[in-house]
Amino acid sequence: MNLSSQEVDGAIVVHVNENRIDAAIAIQFKDRLREMTNGPGDRVILDMSRVDFVDSSGLGAIVSAMKFLAPTRKLELAALTPNVSKVFRLTRMDSVFPIHASVPLQGAGNAV
């Protein structure tokens, strides 16, 4: 499970360096994300630009991450690819997460 993170303007940006969040890796994804978001900061932004497939297990892992970050921290999503966007739309989860068209200040932040 390849995730990396950087701090951008007080937010933790987590880059998902995998092209799928599916049933085969949903649990590792959730566990690894939990480890990576232990630090301070009230926003976690998930960079989804490299992810071209999410199934309902992957979506469940993302919702679970939102729940363990709450209530002090908020999970936001950035750069959904078209197929991933479709899953959020079908399940109406696009109304739950703030979704940014692009990753904020990509490449300009301080690596953590």
Binding site: A24, D55, S56, M66, N83, K86, L90
Partner: protein
Amino acid sequence: MQCEMTARKDGRNADAEQAGGEFHWAFRADPGAVREALGRVVAWFSCQMSEDEAGTLELALAEVLNNVVEHGYAGLDPGPVNLCISRGPDGLSCRISDRGNPMPGLKLPDGEMQPVADEIEDMAEGGWGWAMIRELTRDLTYQRGDQSNCVSFRLPITPN
């Protein structure tokens, strides 16, 4: 992405059978094998349809196949899964069979898209699978036969 059918003309990759435009793939029910099967389907069909259509095909199949792995073979050793996709005038017909547990009540789950909870702590972390399948597919059916399950559906996609 390179079209798998082109690669196949060399005879180098004969794992999947192609007979009369049909795609067949048989595998054991585990998440890694589902991922591999989906990769083969997408490689096979992606050159024949739009990215959006290929995404719909992959998502619908993923949800049915994940259900077989998680529920069909729950409490059993992972058994065989057969996937067959054929082209017809009304689109792609997909058939998934397995030898796992029957569907509860011998019918498909209703699969109403669950409402979004008002409070974060009440949000569901699953249960969207059948609702998505029903939304993405047409002519969805389930048959319980000789100790086997067969789910079939059609996608109104006409491959090039």
